[in-house]
Symmetry: C2
């Protein structure tokens, strides 16, 4: 593992020696934004109920296949109708209602630094890094397959920026690490370089147990202690239409048993894996989500669930998912209403289809963020660094995204209206045609009155051109390097570090986990 | 004038002969989006009332200066207290309430093509081109002072794209036209190249009368006929704090007398021309707006008003206005609530401070658009083409903005929830693990199901790289040229054309209008 860390840090160490140390980056303090506003309602309550009822009908009359006998058995125990194929389960609304009566609607995820605990509920927001792309990119080094060194740098960025609350699994896939031990190596790096909420991939029960063991070690507790004090979360996808594959079904069961938080978010494509109409697509996606939610409650009543049943559309020109489309924004908000119907926290994403860190990437991400937050999203996955519809993690976009996340957090700050802020006396004293640059009120508020941008620029054209005409992406790239320079590794107690080293060494010696399950 | 037109069109004509004619650009049909959603409320009703009451107190106890005797006289007639300086007017809430009881809250602006009439009210949206920058830019020709040829090309773009409802004054200032006749020359080009709602600058009564005469000629009517059938609109600014200069005061009076629509939108800077606190700044800005609104009703009870009392903040690092800040989005939404308090339509803007058509330009514009529309904005000024905090009009950004405007219009389309769109039978027939690519439902909806992007790209990285790795701005630039190629000049009746030519010739011979008033 020392080699891995050395590879990850040495290019940056090299840069550090030749670069001047500038001013420290000023950023927002740690904290979860709270959405104080009434949630936007895209559809009427009646329309939401019609979508919900259609979901129930799908579960009752068509059913969902679980490619895992243990899951099917759980459904059979409560009287679900099992198909002749042995995998299809059909069940009535009573079973859904029962599950909705026990599901936990809030959870606190505590990482090894309790000061970085994150509340997952229907009021607060939590932003997670990008998850899963096999490639990464920055404008200096170009596009390339992800390595554990890149993985480590993304974890460092997630740790460095306070607006990032959770590290998401592989912010880039470390393609240079064998699959059998990838979860061990990458989780070790994640836990060493960050003390924020870590992620667990649901590839198989053994992998989940390994990661839970490692998280427990990082906290100085046992795996079973995580049931009382959860630490982690995972995305659960469906194999649409109407299927859960074995890893996902097992993931739901294991997460529920250990009381960790699944984000049940079918990846749904209107006109491909789902009906072309948004209402139909969201309703089918919601049915799939409900089936997964029921499974968690069958495995462990009272386990938490976050939903994200929405849908993207297929770009009718390319056949590819349109990650930042107008329809994606609509379905995102319909999904949020369904989540509210169930009282569940809601997951959204900072998606874009763009292949470059350009205006498209920015307008798609920004629209997704606004649409999601205003409709009531609570967990924003891929909040920083997502590009190319998920096939590439971008260092430069990570910074741009941090900027728009910080701006969103600032926008959500309540505006105080009081005699002091209305400042009548000041208006009297400045009078007509004067200015407010030097008033006591302005001077007292100078530092804190407004959000201080990371890279947004208000310089006039002449100044900006003199300084090299750097566009936002170039400025983001420079800031990314500064952030990696300023990053400080959070201390890990030596006994825990030793235990972690020993665990990974032992499990690696045992061959890690088999590739296919 | 023929020279002017030739200069405007010849570069494009030249290109046309050497460029292959591609497919026609597919765009949304003409129509004003309607916002079907409940408006976002940033502040409580009590807080809005406190801001309103503070505005009334400012008008009562401090007053507003009008640097125009005719305006002061109108206030004196209704019992306002005139200051010793002869320009400050103070008045009670009774006068404000009286004005709010007569002001028109809706207006239909009819241009020479009645099919392009625009409703200004509290439900619909209208998007206007950028207005006023002295420079323009595209990635091919670079940054340069605006000319009448550039002006003409922006008017063509505004005419070409259906999502643009109104042409705004000078989408770029034609710096090559002498100021005395600039309003004549530019209005002539605007009326010849576009049959959409035109704009009138409020530089002086004579200029306003000239432009109203020309608009009337283009419609085959008389200037006084515009009172019954309004055609145009103008931005009214204040000289903050608490002053209206003579052109703006005269503009309010003339617009009111002719029943045209002023957008009374003080350009307010928290920490500079206004208190540093948003509540204080918006309240002061609102007081200025109310003073202007009162003047319109004194000049002509029942005249229409659109408000846009909001505030930007000063970037505390550069001292420049932060056009796309988090605080700008907050104050935009507070202003919208005040507009709703008065039942008035609300103006927002598609602002950015960025100097390049980059990610910053896109995320700032997109946030302004979402914040404005969701809070209830009705008229979006500078909706396409604004850059550099208003010092530059960008051809390339015009296209990017058209894309985000079309996406917003698509997002605002109601989502139908019905048995047909829920598509239960289709879900049954596709079943588990199938796909929806070839279903009747998908095939029938293929063309119309989803918004078809102008430049947003969902191609995978390989395809995109093969096609030249063009970023969104480069693709926008190419589309801009195609749009200028496809643009068709709307026919103008020969007698009206002759009358317009004659009017401009006569007024030019008379020397146009004096520079200073």
């Amino acid at each position: 593992m020392n080699d891995v860390k050395a590879a990850a840090t040495s290019p940056r160490t090299g840069r550090r020696t030749i670069r001047k140390r500038g001013k420290q980056i000023k950023q927002l303090p740690w904290g979860q934004p709270v959405n104080p506003h009434k949630r936007l309602e895209l559809l009427s309550a009646d329309a939401i109920e019609a979508i919900h009822m259609n979901s129930l009908r799908i579960l009752e009359e068509i059913g969902v296949a679980f490619h895992l006998p243990a899951a099917v058995d759980l459904f059979a125990e409560v009287g679900a109708v099992i198909g002749d194929d042995g995998i299809n389960v059909r069940f009535g609304r009573d079973i859904v209602e029962q599950a909705l009566s026990t599901v936990a609607r809030a959870s606190r995820l505590t990482p090894r630094n309790a000061g970085h605990a994150v509340d997952i509920d229907t009021e607060k927001l939590a932003f997670a890094t990008v998850l899963g792309p096999p490639n990464c990119h920055d404008i200096e080094r170009g596009r390339r397959p992800g390595t554990i060194a890149d993985f480590a740098d993304f974890v460092r960025l997630g740790q460095f920026f306070n607006i990032i609350h959770m590290i998401a699994g592989s912010p880039v896939e470390p393609m240079d690490v064998p699959v059998e031990i990838r979860h061990l190596v990458s989780t070790k790096v994640m836990l060493e370089l960050s003390d924020k909420v870590p992620y667990v991939f649901c590839h198989s029960p053994q992998r989940i147990h390994d990661v839970l063991d490692m998280i427990a070690i990082s906290r100085g507790i046992e795996r079973d202690d995580l049931i009382e004090s959860p630490s982690t979360y995972a995305i659960i996808n469906t194999n649409s239409p109407l299927q859960y594959d074995a890893p996902m079904a097992a993931g739901l069961i294991e997460l529920a048993r250990y009381n960790q938080t699944p984000l049940i978010t079918p990846f749904s494509l209107a006109g491909a894996t789902m009906p072309v109409s948004l209402a139909g697509a969201v309703s089918l996606s919601n049915a799939e989500m409900l089936a997964g939610l029921v499974l968690t409650q069958l495995a462990n009543p009272g386990a938490p669930v976050v939903t994200g049943a929405k849908t993207l559309n297929v770009d009718m020109k390319t056949g590819a998912p349109a990650f930042g489309s107008a329809e994606a924004n609509q379905s995102l908000q319909i999904g949020a209403q369904l989540a509210r119907r169930y009282g569940l926290p809601y997951r959204a994403s900072n998606f874009t289809s763009s292949n470059a860190v350009d205006a498209q990437a920015a307008y798609e991400s920004q629209a997704q963020l606004w649409a999601g937050v205003l409709a009531g999203a609570n967990v924003i996955m891929h909040a920083a660094g997502w590009l190319e519809g998920g096939l590439c993690s971008s260092f430069d976009k990570f910074i741009l995204d941090v900027e728009i996340l910080q701006m969103m957090a600032s926008y959500l700050q309540p505006v105080e209206v009081s005699d002091e802020t209305l400042a009548f006396d000041e208006v009297v004293s400045v009078g007509r045609g004067g200015h407010y640059f030097g008033t006591d009120h302005t001077i007292a508020s100078f530092e804190s009155a407004f959000y201080l941008p990371l890279i947004s620029n208000t310089k006039n054209y002449g100044q900006w051109a003199e300084e090299g005409s750097l566009d936002a992406t170039q400025r983001a790239h420079a800031l990314c390097r500064r952030a990696l320079d300023e990053y400080q590794k959070p201390a890990l107690e030596p006994d825990r570090q030793e235990a972690l080293d020993a665990f990974v060494a032992r499990r690696t010696e045992e061959g890690g986990a088999p590739i296919d399950w």
